[in-house]
Every structure is written in C-alpha cells, then in structure tokens.
C-alpha cells in the first residue's frame, strides 16, 4: 500500500448550471519521503488537485468521485471536524500567495503558536519552543516571532509561512507555486530550504509549478497534466531523458536553457481545451502535430511504457520518430497554420 494513494479522482465545479470537471480521473501514488512535481499550463487542474486534497475547494467545487488515501486512511468524505484535524497536522500547504496569507493584526508568533496549540496537547511553553525550533529551520531569528507581518520583507514572510506549514511535521507537504513571482536568488534559497526540511522530517511532497526546470532540480518524479487529465507520469530522469507524450516533447522545446545555447525555442501552438465542453478523444489532439483520426474518437488510457513510466497516448510505439520530429520547428508550425486556418474560417463568420 502506497503512502499516498489517489485513485480516479474527479473534481467538479458547478459553473452556470453545468458541471466543469477540472480534474478528471487522476490516479497516482506517492511513497514516503518522495517528492512529486505536478506541471502543466494554467487551467490544467494542478492547483485544483491541491485544494481538493486539503478539502479547501471553493463553494462551487466538490470531489465528485474517487478516493484519496493517506497512510491507509480515506480522506474523501470525512466530516468537517475530521478534516480540520488532518489539515496542518497530516497535510500542510504552502500556497502561492503565502505572503498575503498572514493576518496583519497578530504577530507571526501568535499565528504560528495558535496552530500548534490547536493540534497538539502542548503547553504554551512547549509550543513556543517548537515555534523557535521551526523558525531556526527556515533561518529566522527567535525575535521575529514578535514581529507583525508588515515588519518583514516578502522573503521573510514566505519563510514564516513555510515554518508555519511545517511546524507539526506533516506527513505530506503540498507546495503550490511557492516561489513564482520571486527573484531567482530568493527562489533558490527557499527551494533549498523546503527540500532540506522535507528530507529532515521525511515528509512526502507534492510540488505544483509550471516551471519544469524547478521540478528537474528538486523532485523525484514528475506528473504532466493537461485539461484535467494526466498525460505522463514518470521519474524525473525518465521525463528528461526519454519523454513519451507529444505534449511533454513540446514543453521541453519551450524552455530556454541556461546551460547550453538554445538555437530556437519552439512553442506549442494553440490553447488548452474548454473544459465545460471537453472534446471527445484525446484532449491534446487539437494541438498535437501527430494526431490521427483515432485520437478524435478514443481517449487514450494511461499505460505503463517502462517501469514507473505511464503515458496516455495512442502512439507510444512511434516515440522515436516523434522525438526527432518534435525538435523541428516545421512540425509545430503545421499545427499553428491549421489552427489559424480554423480560426479564420470561424472568424470570417463572426465579424463580417
């Protein structure tokens, strides 16, 4: 039994009378002490998964199917009270706008200690000691516990929030773009700190980002999401050395590298599908240079192509050919031209 076992998870938002499946049949497992990077474009469902696991979905969102088992305990369907006990203690989240998550009228220490007291039988003194301890883990001095949020810089607030999330040594850390919008130097230090603490308390981690180079640097495995579905899931090495899915191939073309000279960045033309009315078949087929008629009819299942490497594509056996073609600009240019052509046909009718 895996440490964390997510099976056929579906999360639905009610939008304008209809349902929008932001997460559609996602399954994955995570072992103790391992870290998983979840990557994808805006709207692919990566943040929704995080919120679903914390049961912090907005009012119009709900887990409509599937299960989330953490250490053999089912989390879907728990009562509100039970969920509250799990949060912070078992699963802690470092959110994207962590710096704005602090209450401006309480000191950082008060907010940190409140969380510790709620979830443990610690005395106030013990809680304070724990607070000092986690503060030193993130490199903040004890006196900072008496500071108010406005007295601290953005980087320090981010560290305080990390300290808060880790104060009860949670079994699972969910980090949702914790460093987006930060400077590289600050980002680097924060990533190193999160990594170090995660190793120290042996937590598992789900790291959500749109930057595959960050995942390459800190995660053991990587899961690529697109339109609410998982397209590829593998170890980080496998993903960078032997990617399978055309979308993964496209993503890797789109990143400028600092280590070598990139001749030409190639982007993936088009935009993600509309999930209110998702297309039949493979969700990526619109933008896929290798799409065949079958892709429009049947949605590919996630299949294992190598040990620990799952891919959802009908044509995994043609991957060698794809890898060569995907490096060429013309391959993607043909998709772009097709999309422009389609838009032109529709546009002509729209604006006469």
């Amino acid at each position: 039994m895996a440490f964390l076992d997510v099976t056929d998870l579906e999360i639905t938002y009610t939008v304008g009378g209809g349902g929008l499946k932001a997460v559609d049949g996602v399954s994955f497992q995570l072992e103790e002490g391992q870290s998983l990077g979840v990557v994808g474009e805006s709207g692919c469902g990566k943040t929704t998964i995080a919120k679903g696991m914390m049961q912090l979905l907005p009012k119009n969102g709900r887990i409509s199917a599937g299960s989330i088992r953490l250490k053999d305990r089912e989390l879907v369907g728990l009562s509100k009270d039970a969920v509250r006990r799990v949060r912070l203690k078992e699963i802690a989240m470092i959110s994207q706008s962590a710096m704005n998550a602090l209450n401006p009228v309480y000191t950082i220490g008060d907010q940190l200690i409140e969380g510790i007291l709620t979830h443990t039988n610690f005395s106030k003194k013990e809680a304070y000691e724990r607070a000092v301890q986690v503060f030193s883990l993130v490199g903040l001095e004890e006196k900072r516990l008496r500071s108010y949020p406005h007295q601290m810089s953005g980087g320090m607030k981010q560290r305080a929030v990390i300290a808060m999330a880790l104060s009860l040594k949670p079994a699972l850390i969910i980090a949702d773009e914790p460093t987006t919008a930060l400077d590289v130097v600050v980002q680097d230090r924060i990533l190193q700190r999160i990594l170090k603490i995660q190793k120290e308390i042996n937590s598992s981690m789900i790291f959500i980002t749109h930057d595959i180079s960050v995942v390459g640097e800190i995660c053991d495995s990587i899961m690529v999401m697109y339109g609410g579905k998982v397209l590829e899931h593998s170890s980080t090495e496998q993903f960078f050395h032997t990617p399978f899915h055309p979308y993964s191939l496209g993503l890797q073309n789109a990143f400028p590298s600092i280590t070598e000279m990139t001749e030409q960045l190639i982007s993936i033309p088009g935009s993600p599908p509309n999930l209110i009315d998702p297309p039949q078949g493979c969700r990526f087929r619109d933008r896929c240079p290798f799409a065949q008629p079958i892709c429009a009819k049947e949605a590919p299942e996630l299949r294992e192509v190598a040990p620990g490497h799952r891919v959802a594509c009908h044509f995994t056996e043609k991957v060698d050919e794809f890898r060569v073609l995907a490096k060429k600009n013309e391959t993607w240019e043909s998709v772009r031209n097709r999309l422009i052509q389609e838009l032109h046909e529709r546009g002509g009718q729209l604006h006469v």
Partner: protein, 342 residues
C-alpha cells in the same frame, strides 16, 4: 549589426528622497535611496541589451527613465546622436514616437474599455494620423507583425476576451505601430505561461532580426536573457556590476554577483551538477550602503580590499567589463561566508 550606439546613457542618476522621521525634522540633510547611481550604458543599433538584476537593483527605474515615465535626477541620455532633455510637448511627442515600452503585466496595461482596434489606433491618433483607412491599415499591419492571426478576428475583441499571451501581443502591437526605433521591454514574459513565453520571445527576436528594432530587455531571468539578448548588463543596487556579450558573460562571469545570480537559476537537466553558491537572500538596506563595493554584505568572495572598490567598470577583455576589483583573477570563496543550508 552596426557599432554606433542608438542610445547612450551618461552618468544617469535617480535618487528618491526618503521621508524623514519626526525626530529628524530639524535635521537639514535629506537621505536618499540611490535607485540608479551613476550608470553608463550604450545600446547599439539593432541589438538587444539585457538588463539583469534582483528587485531593487534599479533595472526597471532605468528603463522607465529612458522612456521618460520618470524624470532623472542627473545625467544625460543621448538618443540617436541628440541629447534628450527637451521639455516642450512637441519634443516629448517626437521622442515618444521613437521609443516605446512593453510592460510586465498584460492584464493591467490594456484599457478594459478599449477594444483591440482602439488600443492600437490611439497612439496613431495622438501622433496626428487622421486618415481612417490609413489607421485601419496600420493597425492590421501591427497585429499581423505581432502574430495575432488572422488580425480581423481580433480587431473588435476586448481585453477580457483574450488570453494572457494574446494580450501581450496586443501590447506589443501597440508598441510597434508607430514604427519606433527603440523598444523597452520590462519583464514582458514573466507573467506568462511557459508555452506562450517561447512565442513572445521568438516574436521579440523577429522584431530585431526583421525590423531592425533595438531593444532594452529588462528581466531577472538569466535564461531568457541568454536566449534573446546580444549583450547583458547586470545591475546591483543602482550600479552596473558587469557588462559584455551575453554568451561570454554567462559562460565566464567575472563579478561575484553575476556568479551568484547564475548559480540560482534552476536547471531542468537532472544530471547537471551545478555549483551552488548560497548567499543571504534578504535584499540589503538601500539607504546605508557600505563603503566600497555594494555587494560586500552578501558577497561570498569578499576580502579586506573590497572596501576600496569604486564600482569603476574595468575592461578585462575587449568589450567586457566588470566592476569587481578581482575581475579576471581567481576568486576564492571566503570561508566566513559559506552558508550551510542545503
């Protein structure tokens, strides 16, 4: 590529006065934040210069002074051979026609009440174009160059109907519709999704290659600078600390700050062994700067001699400049400054 500078910046300074505390009310001295402190820069015709640095380094301020969104405190900017100090409306108008800017956040820089056509036509009207057919033609042409295809499809869309990448293209179309000679792009891709990022970077490249546009690209992201720019200038607390051709500087950085920045860039390749240089990630006090090199409080290579540094750029190889007094020498990590955190 011609060698003549299109933009030349001499001893540019921008000081912001700091509000006094009550107890200092009778103190005659005003303190300043020296956001841009005596920098010299040349941007040659047809090149893209990358201006790198952290928050608070003064890179955005420099860009805004060039487009005159802010007034300089001192120094001079020479554009295309003419000093630009003019204060009459006509002069400013002429200048703005030649120099345009693209901003970071495509969600905030477009007027939500203007559709795409109006957004792009407005600068043409301000600059006196009245012929409606001509305006239409130029707007469509600008959209075409910015690769919003087919242009007719987007003309009457409003910003809220467009994706982030499309908005940034509209902003670029607005920037180039006057056919400027010089474009300042301030972090134009940092808010965009990765796949769109590549598109916009390629578009900016094409503007240089095909239209001969000269550009100042302001960013903290060294990997996009490496991809897009010809030369790079690295700023730290208002000073330029290193400057040179982008491939050389990023291959063999000579200033400790550039080394630190470079080491912090995440690398996708899991096999890549990188040398980690950790430094204090707090941006230091901008008012009470140390004597000598401004990087002293955080520099991992600091020595006793560093307080004698004057930030003078030293040409250690042709066209390559560094402000470190140990440029082109072996720099040894100072054992007191090694942070053990990872």
């Amino acid at each position: 590529m011609s060698e003549k500078p299109l933009v030349k910046i001499n001893h540019l300074k921008k000081y912001y006065p700091v509000r006094k505390k009550f107890t200092e009310l009778f103190n005659k001295e005003t303190t300043f934040v020296r956001a841009v402190d005596d920098i010299n820069l040349e941007i040659r015709k047809g090149e893209i210069l990358g201006l790198a640095g952290e928050s608070g380094s003064g890179k955005t301020t420099t860009g805004e002074i060039i487009v005159r969104l802010q007034d300089k405190s001192d120094g001079e900017i020479i554009f295309d051979g003419h000093p630009f100090d003019a204060d009459t409306r006509e002069d400013r108008l002429h200048f703005r026609k030649e120099i345009q800017m693209i901003f970071q956040d495509p969600y905030e820089t477009l007027n939500p009440r203007f559709n795409v056509f109006e957004t792009i036509a407005e600068p043409l009207r301000i600059h006196g174009l009245k012929d409606k057919k001509e305006i239409y033609r130029k707007v469509v042409q600008a959209l075409d160059i910015a690769e919003l295809k087919p242009p007719e499809h987007f003309l009457y869309s409003f910003p809220h109907e467009l994706s982030g990448g499309q908005r940034q293209r509209v902003a670029i179309a607005r920037g180039i519709v006057l056919e400027p000679k010089f474009l300042v792009a301030d972090e134009p891709v940092s808010m965009l999704d990765v796949s769109i990022r590549a598109d916009i970077l390629n578009l900016l490249r094409r503007l240089r290659d095909e239209m001969g546009l000269t550009m100042l690209y302001v960013s903290h992201d060294l990997s996009t600078i490496k991809y897009l720019c010809d030369r790079i200038a690295v700023m730290y607390l208002g000073k330029i600390v290193e400057e040179g051709p982008v491939d050389v500087v990023l291959e063999h950085p000579q200033h400790p700050y550039t080394k630190v920045l470079l080491a912090a860039v995440p690398v996708a390749d899991p096999d890549h062994q990188k040398q980690r240089i950790l430094i204090d990630d707090e941006v230091p006090d901008q008012i009470n700067l140390p004597d000598g090199c401004r990087f002293i409080p955080r520099c991992p290579f600091v020595t006793d001699q560093c307080s004698t540094c004057t930030h003078e750029l030293f040409e250690y190889a042709p066209d390559q400049f560094s402000a470190c007094i140990f440029a082109d020498q072996d720099q040894v990590l100072n054992p007191d400054r090694i942070i053990e955190d990872a």
